[in-house]
Every structure is written in C-alpha cells, then in structure tokens.
C-alpha cells in the first residue's frame, strides 16, 4: 500500500503527499514543535520537510523503511534549522557532571511546562533523542538509524539528555527532600 503511495509521490501526485501528511503529519509536527519550541517555526519546518521530501522522493529506493527515512529528513531539517537560527536555549548547565556525588534530591513530579522548557533548552541532538525515545516511543535501533549513529551513541545521547533534564527540573521545581 505504502509502495503505491510512494510511487504516486514520485510522479508528482499532490494527493499522495497529502496522504503522507495525513498519515505522518502528527508525529512530524510533534517533532518539529518540540525541536523548535514554537508553532511558527514548527509550521515553517513542516513546510520545509515536505519540500525536501518532494525533491528527494525519487531517490528513495526502499533500503530503509519509509517512515524512518521521512523521520531522518525531519530530524535533520530541525537540527539544521536550529543551527542556522542559533536557536535561543533556556540556559541549562552545559557541563555534565562526570564524577562526584549528586547534588539534588528528586523532584516529586515533573510538571509539563517545566518539562517543555527543559526540553527546549537541550542541545539539538539530545533534544531529538529524548523526543523520539521518551515522547514518541521509538526504540534505540530506530533512533540510531534515523540519526545515522550507533545504538550506543543513541543511548548515550538519551542518558545525557535525561540527566540534563533531571538537573534542570530539580533546579526549577520544588522538591520534597531538600534542594542542592
């Protein structure tokens, strides 16, 4: 079924692109919105993703799953966009602790808004990893394929991202067991 859809896209059938949008739009928009942090940029990114899709679809040979390939375009477009715009990040500590004791007691609950701000403050690669794994439910093998990295690197990205997020939340939110 999807093969026919892709063939129609290759022939410039706009309705086929619309079908792809209807099928994957929600996930892709979620990625764009969480990566960019605002709706205007997310819309711009979605437009760019589909224009790139149109220009590259003829080169799609089916070596990877179409969804993976489409995700890769989306993630790369988002990361490239962030680099171009020198996206303003919520200031988080850049240094990740590599040794020593941990400084903060756990937060009682992760508020959505704080989480969103925390995600928006992550470096692009970490942000993509945490969005794909923890929010959109992709596994490390899929993320590795999408981002063109190893499974180990994907796990490492997620580890660092979670650690930054946890530190951010512990700094941003009240805790039951005391602060740092």
């Amino acid at each position: 079924m999807e093969e026919k859809l892709i063939e129609r896209c290759k022939h410039g059938d706009v309705r086929a692109f619309e079908d792809i949008y209807n099928k994957y739009g929600s996930k892709l928009y979620g990625m764009c919105l969480r990566m960019s942090g605002n709706e205007a940029d997310a819309e711009e990114l979605m437009q760019e993703v589909f224009v790139i899709l149109l220009s590259k679809i003829k080169a799609f040979r089916g070596d990877a799953r179409f969804s993976t390939w489409l995700y890769r375009i989306t993630v790369n477009t988002c990361i490239s966009h962030l680099r171009k715009k020198k996206f303003k990040q919520v200031p988080l500590d850049d240094e990740i602790e590599t040794s020593g004791s941990l400084r903060v007691a756990p937060a009682p609950m992760a508020h959505r808004e704080s989480l969103k701000r925390g995600i928006a403050g992550l470096p692009a690669g970490y942000r993509a990893a945490v969005i794909m794994h923890d929010i959109q439910g992709l596994n490390h093998r899929e993320i590795a394929e999408i981002m063109g990295i190893s499974v180990g690197a994907s796990k490492s990205q997620l580890f660092k991202a979670r650690r930054k997020l946890r530190d951010y939340l512990n700094g941003a939110m009240p805790t039951t067991a005391g602060g740092s």
Binding site: D13, V14, Y29, S99, I135, H140
Partner: protein, 225 residues
Amino acid sequence: MVDHKDEILIQQYLLGDLEGPEREAFERRLRSEEELVRLLESYTTLSNGLQSLDDPEPPADLWARRIRPAIAEQLHGTTDRPGSVLSFLGTLRSLFLQPAVVVTAFVVVILGITLLLQQQFISPRQEDNYERAMSNIQKLRDQFLAELDTLAMEMERRKPMLSPELRKVYDQTLKDIDESIAKAERFYFAYPDNSDAVQFLFAAYEKKVEFIEQFKQLEPLSPEA
C-alpha cells in the same frame, strides 16, 4: 553516596539493559540505599512525565495553507517549469500514453503558450483580477478535493457489501481515474493560469465524483447490479 556510575546503572536499569548478576546486585542495593532509591525515583518520575507529553496535533489548515501551496510551487518551479522544452516533451510523452487525451492536450498546450505570451502585457488591474481568479480556482479545487474525500470514504465503508467482481471493477476504474487526475494535476501545476489546464483538471475531478456517485447507486447490491 551515589555517584555518576550509579546514575549510569539507573538508566541502564530503566532501559532494561541491566541483566543477570549486575541487575541482582543493583536491586540488592536498592533495598538498602535510600539515596539510590530517590535517584531512581527521580528518573522514573522524569520518564513518566516525558511519556505523558502527547504529540500535539498540527493546525487543521496547515496542509492547505502552507504545505500544499509549497509543494505546488515546487512542482511548478522545478519539475514542470512552464515553457521548458523538457517539461513540454515530458508532459506530452505521458499524455500520449492515452490517445484519447492527445488532441485535448495539444490544444491545451497551444492555448497555454498563447496565454503566457499574453500575460506579458497584463496591467496592474488585470493582475488583481488574475489573483482573484487564481484564488477562486484554488477554492473550487479545495471544494472538489473535500467532496472527493467524503465520497471516497463513504464508498470505502460500502465496499465490503459489494461482490468481489464489482469491488475489482471499482478499484481498477478508480485507479485509472486517479492516474488521469495525477496527470491533470501535473499539467495544472505546470500551467496553473491556463484555463484549459484548469478545465482539464476539474473535468478529471468531476469524472471521479460522477463515477463514485454512479457506483453508490448500485448499493445495496442486487444480482442484476
């Protein structure tokens, strides 16, 4: 006292990467080290919080407002550049696959070229009219597409009630019509301001609407149907 290594262990534990004796040792520590438990809880809380962030729905009009026009522009500007010899030949080649449309296509191309030449002398007032006309065409096209979507969905629901033979006929004919629509759309995006291209496109849409409507009349199926 927990440290960086413990944090790695916790994440491995949560990912299910900790197995065998390592996992047992870690779980033994969890029974006795309060600080380790708190750290594990903080990561569990974080993980649960992240999982509760659903994907937001894109704006309802995002496709029609931004993405479809961008794709159309891209097709117009690169794939089917008006006046391009390659595009002209490519269009003709695909249309020649169906002899029934070759005469129409030839006339449309000639008219299209004539219209493009005329447009070099368009006045500002004519340009306003032109924009309005293009906007109306787009609206009409949106209406057609919406109607087709509704009809197609309705027929998809009814299809299981059809006999296998009729379903086959329906699917095959619809496929042929969709191919015609795809060709008409390519032609339209190459020459969006050509009245014949527009008519060609709407005729293709109309054909699909008529076909589905006719097929709907067959339902509920009688043996003679």
